[in-house]
């Protein structure tokens, strides 16, 4: 038995789920911090992923150079996109509904431009040739690129956790989540932190788009799909919590792959049940009308 016994269709699907979950985490980690720190529900977050995926498709040349160029481009596009969103929602502070409308408007305009420029049909993105093949795991063939993606995803998770939980900048971010007023009274630049989180979240989302393009390729509507799954991750994981986002993303990844394989068509119900459970538990533990 041993290792070979572990390899069956379900573990292969579960591995897909891990890749999917890590992809969702990369996107949703940015979003959960944007909602938790900046208080902005960015409906344009899926658009940033789509921008990254189109970037990867446009620059893909089958070699490492294209990927490297696309990653460099992702940093630029993500930074500008995040800064642009920060500037767009700045006049709308304390008006969450208007922030939703404004970012939704941006998402619509961007989606229309994408389909004008890149066409309405789905595009498939090939990974670099060096990663194009597949390896055999027991009796099964598994794409090398996905294994590589899982490795990069794990690195991203470790890096993000180190950044948020160990570095001084991460401590500043968590201080602003905990008590914005007191953070300002301690001399911290809360406004800069908010913009920085939007920029950082933007870079993460576009990078996820570049890396995830061979898995979830660019096509119209992908922005909404990505947005809804990352919002579900945020709701299940709790706003502003990076640990919660990781657990929720891995869970949603499994539901969308293993869950679909085991019980076809039940993914929607499982996701709704997960949200219901998370909200109910949090409602029980929250303290309504907690006196100061």
């Amino acid at each position: 038995m041993g290792l070979a016994g572990l390899v069956n269709p379900y573990t292969i699907t579960a591995l897909d789920g891990v890749a999917y979950g890590l992809l969702l985490f990369t996107i949703a980690a940015g979003l959960t911090l944007i909602v938790g720190v900046a208080g902005v529900l960015s409906m344009a977050h899926g658009t940033l992923y789509l921008a990254g995926a189109y970037l990867a498709w446009y620059l893909a040349d089958g070699g490492w150079a294209g990927l490297a160029l696309a990653l460099a481009g992702a940093v630029v596009v993500g930074a500008f996109g995040g800064a642009g969103l920060a500037a767009a929602v700045r006049p709308l502070t304390d008006r969450p509904l208007d922030q939703v409308l404004a970012t939704l408007g941006v998402a619509y305009i961007a989606a229309d431009q994408f389909s004008t420029v890149f066409g309405a049909e789905p595009r498939s993105v090939d990974p670099p040739r060096a990663l194009a093949g597949s390896v055999s795991l027991g009796d099964y063939q598994y794409p090398v690129y996905r294994l590589g993606f899982i490795a990069v995803g794990v690195l991203l998770v470790v890096g993000l956790f180190w950044f948020v939980e160990r570095s001084r900048v991460g401590a500043v971010v968590r201080a602003v989540v905990a008590d914005p007023g007191m953070a300002a009274a301690s001399g911290l630049r809360t406004g800069l932190v908010r913009t920085g989180v939007l920029v950082g979240g933007g870079v993460l989302a576009v990078t996820a788009g570049v890396l995830g393009a061979p898995v979830i390729g660019p096509s119209p509507g992908v922005d909404t799909t990505i947005l809804v799954y990352s919002l579900i991750v945020c709701v299940v994981g709790g706003l502003g919590s990076i640990r919660g986002a990781l657990l929720a993303a891995l869970g949603v990844g499994q539901i969308l792959t293993l869950g679909v394989a085991l019980v076809p068509g039940a993914a929607a119900f499982l996701l709704a049940a997960a949200m219901l459970a998370a909200l109910t538990i949090r409602q029980r533990t929250a303290l309504p009308g907690r006196p100061a």
Binding site: A171, R174, M182, A184, A185, G187, R189, P288, R290
Partner: protein, 503 residues
């Protein structure tokens, strides 16, 4: 025992490790007029929430009219005849006064297109009872603050409750409005039981027949207002006399040389909440190397004053705040901190989830500032923190939390330190340590503004004392004078023996 309408049996409520209410037992016979008083953080509001059902007790039982209601949700308790008001008016602002009252009149059908005649009559009766009959058609948002507070009570009365809970009914009201409120509560039907929480002790003495004093969630005493007034434990709770047993204070005049021009000047400061003035015409100076204390009862506006100076609360028009002669009024909180204002807020406001070490890496003195402090120096000052560097705030004791809040403020090398009730919830020995640290900081040249209810601590460390009462500073005194004539200040700070002092 059986006659009681409301009976709390060893009720406790914890937030994490902190026990906001600790095994409190209270019994109210039908028709009682009962008040709960106590310093900040005593657990008064939590107790009211527990009775109203917005919070559930961690342990203990609540019996009401023969039922155990500990597990009942808020709406079920309301249907059983428990009505309540809120500390800050929370009315449906676009709806008229009478519509607000109608929402609370029981026994109406949900599908009804027009309110029943009986309900309308009841609503107008409730409005007339609080003297708002003429303003019935005015949208609630357009009413004056005092009228909104009375509308709150009308909404509660409209439900014809057996038990009426009033949360800080006198907060933010002017003297004549409090008089009217007193008359209103005295005129309530005899069979209606009233449980109220308030800071204004004159008002409590005027309306309540029995009073319970809480301190740190624990029951201190219950009795008539007169008994409470003379109760030695109560006087100690309010004045913190126990802290006076700590070593005699340093001579207040030691560093006379440093006490030069004022570092922080506050001129004609005013502030308020949702239309209610909390502070008017506050003027005070804080000098380098000296400790200025602002003392006053709970609810006098001390915390609002500190927050307004720090920029956490908006200042009213005409306010001038000068630091080193530079106006701060237009600056945001961060710029004020960078300019040299350090703050230790009430309740400490530590960052949940950050370790002690992380707290100490956050503030950095601005490079343009001449003074600088590093974490090592601060940790020398607070040896307890050095042993707890990887702990998070909820793992620290109250004293350690206070030290951490102080250390966080000191790391920015402030010229002016704002301290808001630093002794709150601390054991006497820790208060003594704290006093020594504050005196030491002043001796090094920091200007300190201390907002304090604990008169003993204030007398121990402060050079000048300003007394805050009913939104104004009623007198400035040197500490030495207080030591000679303590009684007049005690009257201002504890249960009064006379009518309210004219301000």
């Amino acid at each position: 025992m059986t006659g009681a309408l409301l009976r709390l049996v060893t009720v406790s409520r914890s937030y994490g490790a902190r026990r906001a209410v600790n095994e409190v037992s209270v019994e109210l016979p039908p028709g009682a007029r009962h008040a709960i008083i106590g310093p900040n953080g005593a657990g008064k509001s939590t107790l009211l929430h527990l009775v109203a059902g917005t919070l559930r007790p961690t342990s203990g039982r609540i019996h009401y009219a023969g039922h155990d209601i500990s597990g009942w949700p808020a709406h079920r308790r309301a249907r059983a005849g428990i009505a309540r008001t809120w500390q800050h008016p929370a009315l449906a602002r676009p709806l008229t006064a009478v519509q607000n009252v109608l929402l609370a009149v029981p026994g109406q059908r949900l599908a009804a297109l027009r309110p029943q005649r009986r309900a309308v009559t009841a609503a107008h009766a409730a409005l007339a009872q609080v003297g708002l009959a003429k303003l019935a058609e005015r949208p609630a948002g357009q009413l004056a603050y005092g009228d909104q507070r009375r509308l709150e009570i009308a909404v509660a009365l409209a439900a014809a409750p057996r038990l009426l809970l009033l949360d800080e009914p006198s907060a933010g009201l002017a003297a004549e409005e409090i008089t009217r409120l007193t008359e209103l509560i005295r005129a309530l039907p005899d069979d209606m039981t009233v449980l109220l929480v308030d800071h204004n002790l004159d008002f409590v003495a005027a309306v309540a027949t029995t009073v319970t004093v809480l301190h740190h969630g624990q029951h201190i005493a219950t009795g008539t207002p007169a008994e409470i007034r003379d109760h030695p434990d109560v006087r100690r709770v309010y004045l913190g006399t126990d802290a006076l047993t700590s070593p005699a204070p340093n001579s207040p005049a030691t560093p006379a040389a440093v006490a030069g021009t004022p570092v922080l000047r506050v001129r004609t400061l005013s502030a308020g909440y949702t239309g209610a003035p909390v502070l008017t015409d506050i003027t005070l100076d804080v000098r380098a190397g000296r400790v200025a204390a602002v003392v006053g009862r709970n609810g006098a506006g001390k915390t609002t004053l500190i927050n307004t100076i720090a920029g956490l609360h908006p200042a009213g028009p005409g306010t001038d705040i000068l630091l080193h002669g530079q106006p701060l009024t237009g600056c945001d909180t961060r710029r004020r901190a960078r300019a040299g204002l350090g703050m230790v807020p009430q309740g400490r406001r530590l960052f949940a989830g950050l370790t002690v070490d992380e707290h100490l890496t956050l503030p950095r003195p601005h490079p343009t500032r001449s003074r600088s402090v590093d974490a090592r120096q601060v940790l020398d000052l607070f040896p307890v923190l050095a042993e707890r560097r990887q702990h998070r705030p909820h793992q620290l004791s109250g004293g350690e939390q206070q030290m951490l809040a102080l250390a966080r403020a000191l790391l920015a090398a402030p010229d002016v330190l704002l301290l808001d009730e630093p002794a709150e919830g601390l054991a006497p020995a820790v208060v003594g340590q704290l006093a020594a640290i504050i005196t030491g900081l002043a001796a090094e040249g920091t200007a300190i503004l201390l907002a304090e209810q604990n008169l003993a601590l204030a007398c121990q460390v402060a050079h000048d004392i300003a007394v805050l009462d009913r939104a104004r500073i009623v007198r400035h005194v040197a500490t030495a004078d207080i030591r000679e004539y303590p009684t007049d200040l005690h009257d201002l700070l504890t249960v009064p023996t006379t009518a309210p002092t004219p301000s």
